[in-house]
Amino acid sequence: MKNSDLLHETYSALSANKARSGLTMLGIIIGIASVIAMTAIGQGAQNSVSASIQSIGANLVMIMPGATRSFGGPSGGRGGAQSLTVADADAIASQVSNVAGVVREVSSRAQVVATGTNTNTSIVGTEASYLSVRNVAIDEGSFITSQNVTSGEKVAVLGPTARDDLFGVGATGVVGQTIRISGAEYTVIGITVDKGGSGFSNADDIIYIPYTTAQRYLSGNKYLSEIDAQATSSDASTQVQNDITDLLLSRHNISDPTKADFNVLNEASIIATASSVTGTFTTLLAAVAGISLVVGGIGIMNMMLTTVTERTREIGLRKAIGAKRKDINKQFLSEAVALTFIGGVIGVILGWLISFGVSYLGILQASVSVSSIILAFCVSAGIGIIFGYYPARRAAQLNPIDALRYE
């Protein structure tokens, strides 16, 4: 039997019962489309999580006080743990290699008042290097300078949300105005660029002041609530993390690392953890979609078994005039594979459209990968072979006389 004959036979067999072929194919279409869409959405979620972590700043190593703290954003009410000092930060800057910058931070929450408007927001005491290390840009005015820090001046830089809350949405001419933080007067010297609300907390609802000022007026002590170090490259970040840990252990006279009074977090490892979480999520989605694909495959098998029964006489005749087992086998197998293959093509297109729709509606930037398309094709053809094999074999093994007698 020639391939062109096989193709013709397959076409006429499938088109003889269009409704049934179509419905059977629908099972595969839905299965493939959901696998494609689900992995694309999962991948999109993974990308967006990584991107929002990276927006904190590239190759960041964060040092926080306190033993085994769970990962989370800086919070004002950090209980008692006072272990990081300015001298620690100086030591990191001068003694650890591959460090591009160090930022000292004193964070807290405070009541802020401006022109009669009242808000409670997070106050970050920091310094000039914050801009480059934490990936923040200035929209208007200027950021805190080293001069501001050394003299402990009462100046403030507002995040766009804090600005909106205090002066009204999109208010202009804010630079130069005065606000009151915990009762003390501060001059606004700048506004930062909108970072976008994505991420764990709103990075724009924030007010920056010099850390020396924060120590003096807000926390009332000489400790830091966080030190951020930026590694020169992502490859170096683990080394930087380890070196900082060793350095601080010796500076704090702690010999047992499990008793450390500080915590060093590496951004790369946070991304890895977050990715593995979203990765599990993606796998779960794909598995659910995969089950629907298997159900589609069972539909194919069901249809093929019905077809073989219906066409028993035809099979008998074909065998009677010289068709071998492999000819019959090929004919029915190719019907099953044609169904799953066409279903696979339509499913890929549909899955892509769904992903496109999700991105277009702004729900998530779904990303369809070439590998998932190739996988979907292979899986759909494979399903045709697996679920078509048994019915085809049954057809091929029919005895011609019994088959011809079949009513």
Partner: protein
């Protein structure tokens, strides 16, 4: 050359066994035209299926052109059917919703013959079987009983078989059409030297053959016996 020795065929339905052929032996030479007669249920079709390599005997041997067919595998039997045998079934068995031409070309599909050549040979076979060219593209369910019969014959001829087996090919034809069909078989036999075995109920059709085999209850009856019977009946009438 067909050599059948002590062939038996037993059908099993559940626990019940039924012997449709109980030891049949005969020889048919190349180029012979043989008719098989016998009452309904006597085992004619069963014998024909074995001769056509469609079924295997339960015991006994069947040599076709010196080769023992009764021990071949399914696929080897398929090759014999494809190369040597043309079969006209009692119930024709055309593919439904398929054109006459495609039906006749079907055996050539499994022979790997080119499309153009297939069409030529199918058309020749159809003309030989006496079907008008106007019906070649009809679907098989748009034909009369007699036309279906001729398509079935054409399909049996298309692979140029040396052995043609026909199970009541004139079963539901009027006498005039029967004559035409019979003439086709005679032409194939006399002019092309094909061996022909034909099952029929009708004595006058069987008379066209070189030889008649009578089957009754799965056993071959000598022709002489049959003639004696007829003779004795005639004598009774007198």
């Amino acid at each position: 050359m067909i050599e059948v020795k002590d062939i038996k065929k037993t059908y099993k339905t559940g626990d019940v066994e039924f012997e449709a052929l109980s030891g049949v032996s005969f020889t048919i030479k190349d180029g012979e035209f043989v008719a098989i007669m016998g009452p309904s249920g006597s085992g004619k079709s069963t014998l024909m299926h074995i001769l056509g390599a469609l079924d295997k005997p339960s015991s006994g041997t069947y040599f076709l052109d010196g080769k023992d067919v009764s021990i071949l595998t399914d696929d080897e039997l398929a090759d014999i059917r494809k190369d040597k045998i043309g079969f006209v079934f009692q119930s024709f068995n055309l593919l439904p919703r398929t054109t006459v031409l495609r039906n006749v070309m079907l055996p050539l599909v499994y022979d790997g013959i080119e499309q153009k050549e297939r069409e030529n040979r199918a058309k020749k076979a159809l003309l030989l079987a006496g079907l008008d060219e106007g019906h070649f593209l009809n679907l098989s369910n748009q034909l009369s009983g007699g036309q279906i019969q001729r398509v079935a014959i054409a399909r049996a001829l298309v692979n140029n078989p040396s052995l043609i087996l026909a199970d009541e090919p004139t079963g539901n034809l009027d006498s005039k059409t029967s004559e035409i069909v019979l003439a086709t078989f005679q032409k194939l036999n006399k002019e092309l030297g094909r061996t022909i075995i034909l099952i029929t109920h009708e004595q006058d059709i069987a008379e066209h053959a070189d030889r008649i085999l009578f089957i009754k209850d799965g056993l071959l009856e000598e022709r002489a016996t049959h003639i004696k019977k007829i003779a004795s009946q005639i004598i009774k009438h007198i």
